[in-house]
């Protein structure tokens, strides 16, 4: 990679738990083998020829790493996939969680990854994991550990981890036996919970370990979740570790979910095992399907202290007295109907429009709350535009009215609103069809659905979708789908093809990346819709003042707009030198130079710019062209030159006219001269005469 611009403050902006590295300690000389090693920070070497495939998580790959100086020697590096936005911001808080049973984060940030020939986000942990409790391919194991071992060595340590994480306001999102590690001997020692930052929350976790509502969403679109979701996952994890039988063996995810809705999670997982005592209590508490009823961390603390908690009656799900038939399937639970209705939208719309749904809710379901919700929603969907996709939108809205906790299901998308951003980024980077996403953002139905859901920070989510609706309607450079990408997923790196080899998450990193792009080649373009949207979302002060120039039909204005944008970023980021960028700018100012009429001035400016570019200071270049009257004075002098030209032309015409048309050209002047000459001669003659007369006299 090219020499990066120098920062005035040499702080690292990535999370680290290794602040304990002694800066006074003598640095050991590192032996780096470029064909197999990558340096990540000055103290960590990642060995890209030594994969740790037992720790791989689908697209996220693990590699052996070595720490130097005061760092632990044995490390694991997780290299993130660009399509899966990692939880970089969460890593800052994660690093502060000091818990032995949670894998310790050493460092996170971006690293140049040879396999990808570009930068990737990376998390480096201490390798204290051991063996996963279950292989990741076996998502529903039956391990039959002893209850007392599970309580002491699995439940207790993980509860402490979750308590600490809750205190740091972090949701883990990947608690399942494939991410719980032990020393190989069941229950012999405390387990270690694996990392959760290298992919979106719950992306790598099988649906079995999710509550019904989250399991129905696409893995990429589950959203961050809550502590209650973590506790549910813990409950399921404990259940599968303890149980000796799998009641759902051979069943698909959809069947398991249906069973959970019908019979409850506890029965679904443990109906064939008999548990007793505190273990039973624990699992019952954790496996409540209603998150309001589910045990909290306070309840768990009480349980750990030996206090008995009074069992809560799990409210029964609503059940209709008679079924509603849809596509030859009989539904007596509104939740199951809501889950399936969006797969049969045309048939469902017939049921809705015929009034059968209303009748069924009123007479069979007999739940006022559901009735009111559905009636209100039916009224709302009546106002939707009957354009293409109307049935899908209407069914998604009615499904939410029937079962508000369900993920929004539109066409091929199943998403929780909080997970929409990461799902959109994933779809974009994997070149999936984005039309469904665009339809969702453009439509009103998604707002109707969100209002019904018990989402945390609902106001924020509503505002985001509303904003995206406006962004899609605008075609200016920094609006459109690209802006929606970065607005809905603030942790997304910039996805511009110009920055293909870079992992850019801030305007400062963008400038450094562009410096690298210019140092390694001569790109034609340095700013596209992605970069413009990215900058505008991250910090509009970097680019919004120059949008007029950047979108101008005049090329020179676009060029000046680009220079000013880059200079603003350099100034605000406190970066000192960008020599390659300055060189690129200097070589691509033809359009600006052409705005000067005066060739001498052009040469002078070019010489000045050549001097300034050596400093690598883009601000100076921008300020040079911002000088008042730089262009105006040139235009003024140009008009003067035009007048001069016209004057000369007229003078020439006059002279030619005089030469060609006047027969006696110069006669008048000649006569005037002649009269002077004659005067002089006459005067001479008179002097001589007087002299002669005087001599004679």
């Amino acid at each position: 990679m090219a020499n990066a611009p120098i920062k005035k403050d040499s702080e690292s902006d990535s999370a680290t738990a290794s602040d304990a590295v002694d800066s006074d300690a003598p640095e050991t000389k590192l032996e780096i083998k470029p064909e197999q090693d990558v340096m990540f920070d000055k103290n960590i070497t990642i060995h890209f020829d030594k994969p740790l495939s037992q720790y791989d998580k689908n697209k996220v790959k693990a590699f052996r790493a070595t720490g130097h100086n005061k760092l632990a020697k044995d490390l694991i590096a997780y290299i993130c996939d660009k399509s899966l936005t990692p939880r970089g911001i969460t890593s800052i808080k994660y690093a502060k969680v000091k818990q032995q049973s949670l894998v310790k984060l050493i460092k996170s940030g971006k690293v140049f990854w040879p396999h990808a020939d570009g930068e990737r986000f990376c998390f480096v942990y201490e390798n204290t994991l051991g063996k996963p409790v279950t292989d990741i391919k076996n998502s529903a194991p039956t391990l039959g550990w002893k209850p007392e071992d599970v309580i002491v060595n699995v439940a207790n340590p993980l509860i402490k981890v979750l308590t600490n994480m809750r205190n740091m306001d972090i949701v883990h999102g990947e608690i399942w036996p494939g991410n719980i590690y032990y020393n190989g001997s069941a229950g012999a020692d405390k387990v270690t919970l694996g990392e959760c930052l290298s992919a979106p929350t719950s992306y790598n976790m099988p649906a079995l370990y999710e509550s019904v509502e989250r399991a129905l969403a696409d893995p990429i679109a589950r959203g961050t979740g809550t502590v209650a979701d973590d506790l549910y996952s813990l409950g399921v994890s404990l259940a599968v570790i303890l149980r000796k039988n799998d009641p759902m063996q051979g069943k698909s995810n959809a069947e398991i979910i249906e069973h959970k809705i019908e019979k409850g999670s506890y029965t679904t997982l443990l109906s064939k095992d008999r548990l007793s005592g505190s273990t039973l209590e624990l699992l019952r508490g954790l496996l409540y399907d209603d998150p309001e009823q589910r045990w909290t961390l306070e309840d768990l603390e009480s349980w750990m202290d030996g206090r008995r908690l009074s069992p809560k009656q799990s409210p029964k799900r609503v059940k209709a007295s008679r079924p509603l038939v849809l596509n030859d399937v009989k539904y007596i639970r509104p939740e199951l109907l809501a889950k399936d209705m969006t797969d049969n939208t045309d048939e469902m719309m017939r049921v809705i429009e015929s009034g059968d749904l209303n009748l069924w809710i009123e007479r069979a379901v007999e739940d006022k709350t559901v009735k009111i919700r559905v009636e209100q929603m039916l009224e709302e969907i009546g106002s939707y535009d009957r354009t293409e996709g109307y049935n899908e939108r209407a069914c998604a809205a009615v499904a939410t009215a029937l079962y508000p906790e369900i993920p929004i299901h539109y066409s091929a998308l199943k998403f929780n609103p909080a997970g929409f951003g990461r799902a959109l980024t994933y779809a974009y980077t994997t070149k999936a069809n984005l039309q469904d996403y665009i339809d969702v953002m453009r439509s009103m139905f998604v707002l109707s659905c969100i209002r019904l859901q018990k989402t945390t920070s609902i106001g924020n989510i509503l505002a985001k979708f509303d904003a995206c609706k406006n962004y899609l309607n605008q075609t200016t450079l920094h609006y459109g789908l690209e802006r929606c990408l970065y607005y809905m997923n603030p942790e997304s790196p910039c996805l511009s093809p110009i920055l293909e080899k870079y992992y850019v998450q801030s305007p400062e990193e963008l400038l450094i990346a562009l410096e690298g792009v210019c140092a390694s080649g001569s790109p034609k373009v340095l700013l596209d819709r992605h970069i413009a949207s990215f900058l505008s979302v991250k910090d509009r002060r970097n680019i919004d003042p120059y949008i007029g120039d950047l979108t101008s039909s005049d090329r020179y204005k676009r060029r000046l707009g680009l220079i000013r944008t880059l200079a603003t970023i350099q100034k605000r980021s406190n970066l000192e030198q960008c020599p390659a960028l300055a060189e690129w700018i200097s070589n691509n100012l033809e359009d600006v130079y052409d705005r000067f009429h005066d060739a001498k001035k052009k040469d002078s400016i070019q010489r000045q710019i050549k001097k300034i570019k050596k400093t690598g200071d883009l601000t100076k270049i921008a300020l040079y062209f911002d000088a008042p009257n730089l262009f105006q004075s040139d235009t003024g002098y140009f008009y003067q030159a035009m007048q001069e030209y016209t004057r000369l032309k007229e003078e020439k015409e006059k002279i030619i006219d005089r030469l060609e048309n006047k027969k006696n050209y110069g006669q008048k002047s000649g006569q005037q001269v002649a009269s002077v000459v004659a005067m002089v001669v006459a005067f001479g003659i008179m002097i001589v005469s007087a002299y002669v007369v005087m001599i004679k006299g």
Binding site: R595, H597, D598, A599, K600, F631, T635, F638, Y639, A641, M642, E644, Y645, T646, L648, K649, E651, K652, I655, I656, R658, L659, N664, Y665, G666, Q667, K668, S669, G670, Q671, Q672, V673, A674, S675, V677, A678, M679, V681, A682, F683, I685, M686, S689, A690, V692, V693, G697
Partner: protein, 177 residues
């Protein structure tokens, strides 16, 4: 409106003639009264000047002045003779009776014609040469302006508010060809 202009011009002319004429008239009258002998010589001797005045169509009467100056120079020795010797009418008439006097005076006047002729031709040639050289310099300056400011400085193109052609000059050349 036209009448007023004519009257104005007439007044101007009248004023011009009046002032000059008065001066000359006064001069003449004085000479005649005070210097009768001198007047006699001048009346005869300055005849070429009177003729030149009548023939000279120019406003400035430069030719008349040329000839007049030389004519007077021709008369001057005789006038000087009068003024330094016997300043009487018979002496002046005596001068005038002498053909040599007339020949000399009129020859010197003729030199005035010659001076006018030669100098006018000379000056005219110089001016023509100068004009041609000026044309060459103008061409160079124009080219220098074009080199510095571009083809559009010739003012033949439609320019926008910033001075740039609305149609590209190259396109125009292509169109023209």
């Amino acid at each position: 409106m036209a009448r007023k202009k004519k009257r104005k011009n007439k007044n101007k002319k009248t004023k011009k003639i009046g002032f000059k004429g008065f001066f000359i008239g006064l001069f003449v009258v004085l000479i005649m009264v005070v210097f009768t002998p001198t007047t006699a010589i001048l009346l005869v001797g300055m005849l070429p000047t009177f003729v030149a005045y009548l023939v000279d169509n120019s406003l400035e009467k430069n030719k008349t002045f040329t000839i007049g100056a030389m004519n007077f120079a021709g008369c001057f020795p005789y006038l000087l003779g009068l003024w330094t010797g016997e300043n009487t009418l018979p002496v002046s008439l005596n001068y005038l009776e002498n053909p040599q006097t007339i020949i000399i005076i009129y020859s010197v006047a003729a030199m005035g014609y010659l001076i006018n002729y030669i100098v006018t031709i000379g000056v005219s040639s110089v001016l023509v040469t100068k004009s041609k050289m000026r044309i060459e310099r103008i061409d160079k300056e124009k080219q220098a302006l074009k080199d510095r400011w571009g083809e559009k400085v010739n003012g033949k193109h439609d320019l926008d508010e910033y001075g740039f052609p609305i149609q590209n000059i190259e396109e125009e050349v292509l169109d023209a060809s």
